[in-house]
């Protein structure tokens, strides 16, 4: 580093400069609270009733899934031959009843939540990452790079995801949740790539980007340190909603029998067990309601985040 600039003591112009000071932080002893956009967003989110309700419920449901081995009274494979197709009861702690081979349904639903949340979070993280990189590069560089990447994105968007997933599952056989997740992630990045590209396209023309360039920053530094923080809002919202979509698609796949291999429970495959025993309502209702609850909560949170992270909105919802 070069020599620091020395300050001449008692500099003449300092007085002139000091005379023109307008200092907003200390005005007659009144301290103004320093607030970042993030703290505004946090406040707006915390005041968003629906989103907060969703968040609390989701924490409970996901918490149950995460700590399934402590919360579930039984293992998901444990068979109780004395209670086959037992209705929901507190007897023997079968709160959600048992299935056709006497496995505790409450435990299976809780382990199913764990599978679903693993799929949802994994897909959201991986697909957001891919989408972010693709969108950032396309939007920042523009030109033929943009064209190429966006045509690839269009191509992926036109592919019928479910059909391909079914084919893949049929070819590879149903696997564990990670394989399903990776395949899902390879389809889910497109929306985010387009969003991020759009934001980068407009932000790369901003003067602070030019200023960063003039300060000698390289492309990667400009993309990820200067522009990226401006796009976090849409990325977070989209990522949240991706969790819900991934859980739904995984449930659909498992429902069709091409998702996660039994005996690992997944909410989708649990719903199926109700098909064979239509009159045993608990087999369908509990996993089904759990899916609805999770997806609903996530969507509420997503809406709340969208409102909270919208910089044009200063109003704090009461």
């Amino acid at each position: 580093m070069t020599e620091p600039v020395s300050r001449k003591p008692g500099h003449e112009s300092e007085k002139i400069v000091a005379a023109g000071l307008e200092d907003t932080t200390v005005v007659a002893g009144l301290e103004l609270e320093v607030r970042s956009q993030w703290s505004y967003a946090r406040r707006r989110f915390l005041r968003h009733r629906l989103a907060m309700t969703g968040l609390i419920l989701l924490i409970i449901v996901f918490g149950a899934g995460l700590f399934a081995n402590f919360i579930a009274p039984y293992s998901y494979e444990q068979i109780d031959l004395n209670n086959i197709l037992a209705p929901p009861t507190t007897f023997g702690h079968h709160f959600f009843g048992t299935d056709e081979i006497g496995r505790d349904y409450f435990s299976r639903v809780i382990y199913g939540i764990r599978t679903s949340e693993e799929v949802g979070v994994f897909v959201a993280v991986v697909s957001s990452f891919i989408g972010l990189i693709v969108g950032a590069i396309a939007g920042y560089y523009g030109g033929w790079i943009d064209n190429l990447l966006m045509r690839i994105t269009d191509l992926v968007l036109t592919l019928p995801a479910l059909a391909i997933l079914l084919t893949a599952a049929a070819l590879l056989g149903s696997g564990n949740q990670w394989r399903v997740s990776i395949i899902l992630a390879l389809f889910f990045w497109t929306t985010l790539a387009r969003i991020v590209r759009g934001v980068f396209l407009s932000l790369r023309e901003k003067e602070y980007v030019e200023a960063a360039k003039a300060a000698g920053s390289g492309d990667a530094r400009i993309m990820f340190r200067h522009i990226l923080p401006n796009t976090l809002g849409p990325i977070i919202v989209n990522g949240t909603l991706a969790v819900a979509t991934a859980i739904l698609v995984e449930a659909a796949l498992s429902f069709l029998g091409f998702g996660i291999k039994p005996p690992t429970p997944s909410l989708g495959s649990l719903v199926v067990s109700g098909q064979t025993n239509p009159q045993k309502w608990w087999l369908t209702i509990f996993p089904g309601l759990t899916i609805v609850l999770i997806v609903l909560c996530i969507n509420f949170i997503g809406d709340g985040l969208r409102d909270a992270l919208d910089p044009t909105q200063r109003r704090i919802r009461a």
Partner: protein, 345 residues
């Protein structure tokens, strides 16, 4: 004469547009000497910004293209450097201050972080603590009060003048030897302009950086600069030290500029603009680009046919690109009577 820190030779910059090629900068040559402040004045579109942005590789290419010339900075031609080498110079040896402080700071990053970035880009191994100390020191130099508090604030918590101070702090972060200020006060209101000019003066006294000040405000030039280039339609039409330019301008365009300023001392109903419109840079007028608006030309053939070259007149580094500059010798200037050749200091 000392060695110039930056020598621009025959620089030409073009932009390709749908209507044709815009010759934004056409064959300009000038030197910047260590420690001096060089003003570049001219109306919008006269190529004053492009002439400096292009040497730092900051014009978009395409559509922009550097059509020729060289820019020797400390012995190396900036126009021949690779992107990476140029990047190492930008923000370190040569720094820029931009026009609009409201948009030149990233709204989502703390001011202190952004200033630190300017240092860490070039000195990534610097300790965080040292960088922070340096940033606070910089904020203090440019007269930002409570730099410790301000360090953690966001740009929206800064007023316009404070932001421009922060931008100036950013530009001097690595003690550059050449500072390019592209209309640093245009976006600010007049009282803040005065403060920012004070800051710039002070920063210059302390850093001893050579400064190129791009502006269309002749008042700022008179205030800050030692030498002036007047640009018109992508060419330099007059250059000289600031006193000479103001007291005995020798180009009809410069004279027109001076006359267009409103006078406070006289009761005037009308301004005195230069007649006509700035020329199109795609189809530039033949000969001297200024001839359609010139009071001196009066349709003389040389003005229409020959491109006047910048030539020294009256000695003392005073040059004018007018075929008939000598005819202006006895014309009284608005800013005091003509003085002895060499200008008064």
């Amino acid at each position: 004469m000392p060695e110039p820190i930056l020598s621009i030779r025959n620089l030409a910059v073009e932009f390709k547009t749908e209507d044709g090629i815009v010759h934004a900068v056409d064959d300009i040559t000038y030197d910047v000497f260590p420690g001096e402040t060089l003003g570049i004045v001219g109306e919008s579109g006269s190529g004053k910004s492009v002439s400096t942005l292009s040497i730092l590789g900051l014009i978009p290419q395409p559509p922009g293209r550097i059509a020729g010339g060289e820019a020797i900075f400390k012995g190396q031609d900036l126009l021949k450097l690779k992107k990476r080498e140029l990047r190492r110079i930008r923000g370190d040896e040569v720094a820029m201050i931009f026009q609009d402080p409201m948009t030149s700071l990233n709204p989502v990053l703390r001011v202190g972080f952004q200033l630190g970035e300017a240092i860490k880009t070039h000195y990534p191994k610097e300790r965080d603590g040292a960088v922070k100390e340096r940033v606070i020191e910089l904020l203090r130099i440019v007269g930002v009060p409570n730099p410790e508090t301000r360090y953690d604030q966001y740009p929206h918590e800064f007023s316009g003048g404070m932001r421009q101070r922060a931008m100036i702090a950013m530009s001097i972060a690595n003690s550059p030897s050449l500072l390019i200020a592209d209309e640093p006060t245009t976006a600010l209101d007049v009282t803040i302009q005065a403060q920012v000019l004070q800051v710039m003066k002070r920063v210059q006294e302390e850093t001893h950086a050579a400064t190129i000040l791009i502006t269309h405000d002749l008042g700022i030039v008179a205030e800050l600069c030692e030498r002036v280039l007047v640009m018109y339609a992508g060419r330099i039409v007059e250059s000289g030290d600031v006193h000479t330019i103001f007291r005995k301008p020798r180009h009809p365009y410069t004279i027109g500029l001076m006359d267009s300023l409103p006078r406070l001392t006289e009761d005037e109903e009308w301004l005195h603009p230069i007649p006509g419109q700035p020329p199109s840079l795609i189809n530039r007028p033949s000969g001297c680009a200024f001839h359609p608006r010139c009071f001196l030309s009066q349709g003389r053939a040389a003005c229409l046919d020959e491109v006047p070259s910048l030539r020294e007149i009256d000695g003392a580094g005073h040059s004018s690109a007018c075929h008939y500059a000598e005819e202006l010798r006895d014309r009284p200037s608005r800013f005091g009577a003509p003085v002895q050749a060499g200008g008064a200091q």
